[in-house]
């Protein structure tokens, strides 16, 4: 699905990377544990997380993940958004929980990594 579909499905707000909403994303991975994210080998992943700190952005950068969905209205800091922008990472936030976001995206065709 396109990132614009993700935004619509989770009633999301784009905080960074508005220009990338036509980008396709194939897989979803939900975790607050960054070492778990670092084990992923696939590309085209949407990271769904409640961990709103610099390391979430850094982990995405190291894992070549180009889109992050922060759940439960987590608001990334300006430093985090600057870092995301520098690395071409689109940042979306949703009021929904990790469970609800993952369920809706899965139901609409976003595949799991495992």
């Amino acid at each position: 699905m396109k990132l614009s579909d993700v935004v619509q499905i989770v009633n999301g707000t784009v905080l960074c990377g508005q220009e990338n909403l036509e980008r396709e994303v194939r897989l979803g991975f939900a975790s607050d544990l960054m070492s778990d994210v670092l084990t992923l080998l696939a590309d085209d992943i949407l990271l769904i997380t409640g961990l709103s700190n610099n390391q979430a952005i850094r982990t995405a950068e190291m894992s070549d993940i180009l889109q992050i969905l922060f759940v439960r209205n987590k608001r990334p800091t300006k430093t985090m958004l600057d870092l995301a922008h520098e690395h071409g990472i689109t940042v979306i936030t949703t009021p929904y929980s990790m469970f609800r976001s993952s369920g809706l995206l899965f139901k609409n065709g976003l595949d799991p990594v495992y």
Binding site: S35, N54, Q55
Partner: protein, 143 residues
Amino acid sequence: MHVSYEVRAGDFSIAGKVSSTVKGILKQLNLTPAHVKRIIVALYEAEVNVVAHSFGGKIDCDIDSEQVVITVSDTGPGIADLELAMTEGWSTATAEVREMGFGAGMGLSNIRKNTDILKIDTGKDKPTIISMTFRLAEGAEHA
């Protein structure tokens, strides 16, 4: 090509900066995306370990067309039981480290999975020196 960087202990706001810089260098040297990912995942875990667990240290990278060797060394306090530390799920991380999304006891096993040769020299109240060798089957450009 040799590059070296200092890593400060405890400062999570900049943890990952060295890994980010090295990633840029490896991409410029035209390593394959798969090689870059393996090397950077291992390096980032090691960098986070220095920030989270040590008194501070440094990262040295030696890159040539055959291999990348990265040595991550700190000034202590060392790992008392390395075998235990290598066990997935075992951790001594503080609450602060866990809040950063790490500290689940996966760091060293992530490093091991991504390296071709891993050497760890450590002990209680000693520095820890981790040497990671990554072989580049297809070769990178000469640095």
